[in-house]
Amino acid sequence: MIHILRTTLSSLCLLLAAVWTTTAVAAETEDIIKYRQGVMTSVGGHMAAIAQIVRGKVDYADDLVYHAESITRSMQTVESLFPKDTDFGETRALDAIWSQADKFKQVSDEGRAATSAFRDAVKANDKAAFAARFKAVVDSCKACHKDFREKKEQ
């Protein structure tokens, strides 16, 4: 009798624990994905704003340092947005991020270098270098999105 009670109770507890941990982990993954998308969206917003200024469409040159600092800061820790196995759920992150970790690290480094160089040019008000360095930033976005982001559904 005691034996039956013990097995039933322990199974129940183990089952509950398993359910609790999986849902907890799943929730955490989803939250990371949401955060990641928030960061990426903000970078996109800064990029759109910078493009308008650099292309000479608008005259908000005073804001350029703020935009450049923001994207540079986000790129500093960009890999941390992609903890292992966060390619499940509502995300376009591809498994290649983890299966080709070296290459992912390399494009992340490029992103860091390109954004820092652009920010330095902005801070030094080196207008001659703006266009080329901004293009390098866009190239680094493109290089990563080419191999590590699922093609967009329109």
Binding site: G44, M47, K135, K142, K146, K151, E153
Partner: protein, 316 residues
């Protein structure tokens, strides 16, 4: 006035000399295009190789320039782009002008075999003869690479190449793509670049059961593009196409890969921007944009029905 002509005479000389100079300039300009030789011909050929998207498929990701090897997954099988360096055994070394023209415009190998239309000869059929020959001159000038070609992976029923005669009879037809009517030379140049060279429609147009482009849906996008990708609608429909983009934004996108909302191109279009459009001159990009924005808008949403329609525009 110790030297030169008296004032009056000098003016006369300038005026007399002007038309002569203009005529000479016109002769040089007119002559330059069709009979470019030497360095100018090679330069033009190289530009056309990029405009025609040759490097995009014929150079593998880490591979040697134009030595082939890149895989193209399609619903019909996997095609491997061949070596087009002038290597005599593995490439296209030793081909005559006539053989090269026949390959590019009729999809025929020197031995008479049909090429599969993964090689976009349906588009290249619209290329001007002198442009094809400039491409050949350039390809003959690059270093030959001894890289053997990989055979395509196709189901048994598609391995019978003479069957392609029927396909060609249906789809390789006149009028040649890239030539449009109308008074606007810029738009004409755009049509030539889009349809005969860069062959945008080969990915951006849905295909029928036999792999031919559905002409009525040209450039309207497809959910079954190469490598199973969704390829966007690039007709100027305001809701589902690119009708809301300004010409300037489109030129900028083709140069850099940044969309007006700050997103960057990814996937295959990132490669096309790197290998093809970013290498074109600004006037050529403006011509492409003028032409594309003049296309009839086609409403074609590419969201799959089960996908969430309330999607955020950015998903990473």
């Amino acid at each position: 006035m110790p030297q030169g002509f008296p004032r009056k005479e000098r003016t006369v000389v300038v005026i007399r000399g002007l038309p002569r100079g203009l005529i000479l300039l016109c002769v040089i300009l007119a002559g330059a295009a069709p009979v470019a030789r030497g360095a100018a011909l090679l330069e033009r050929g190289e530009y056309l190789v990029h405009a025609g998207g040759c490097t995009n498929c014929h150079t593998d990701e880490q591979g040697v320039y134009l030595a082939g090897g890149r895989a193209l997954s399609t619903p019909f099988g996997i095609f491997y782009a061949p070596n087009i360096t002038p290597h005599r055994r593995h490439g296209i070394g030793g081909w005559t002008d006539a053989e090269f023209l026949r390959a590019m415009k009729a999809g025929l190998a020197p031995d008479g075999d049909n090429y599969y239309p993964a090689f976009p000869y349906v588009a290249y059929a619209g290329m001007r003869r002198e442009d094809v020959l400039a491409v050949k001159a350039y390809l003959d000038s690059i270093p030959p690479v001894a890289q053997p070609n990989r055979p395509h992976q196709l189901p048994w029923y598609l391995r019978f190449r003479p069957g392609l005669w029927l396909w060609k009879w249906r789809y390789l037809s006149l009028p040649a793509p890239g030539t449009i009517r109308g008074p606007d030379p810029v738009r004409q140049r755009g049509a030539y670049l889009v349809n005969a060279l860069a062959h945008c429609g080969e990915c951006h147009t849905p295909r029928d059961w036999f792999g031919g482009l559905i002409d009525a849906r040209r450039h309207a996008g497809t959910v079954t593009g190469p490598d199973g990708d969704v390829v966007p609608n690039i007709t100027p429909d305001r809701k589902t196409g690119i009708g809301k983009w300004s010409s300037d934004d489109l030129v900028y996108y083709l140069q850099n890969g940044l969309t007006p909302d700050g997103d960057s191109a990814g996937g295959p279009m990132a490669e096309v921007i790197d290998n093809v459009t970013s290498r074109l001159t600004k006037p050529d990009l403006q011509a492409i944009v003028r032409y594309v924005l003049s296309l009839p808008p086609i409403e074609n949403s590419l969201r799959s029905s089960q996908s969430k329609t309330e999607r955020d525009p950015y998903e990473y």
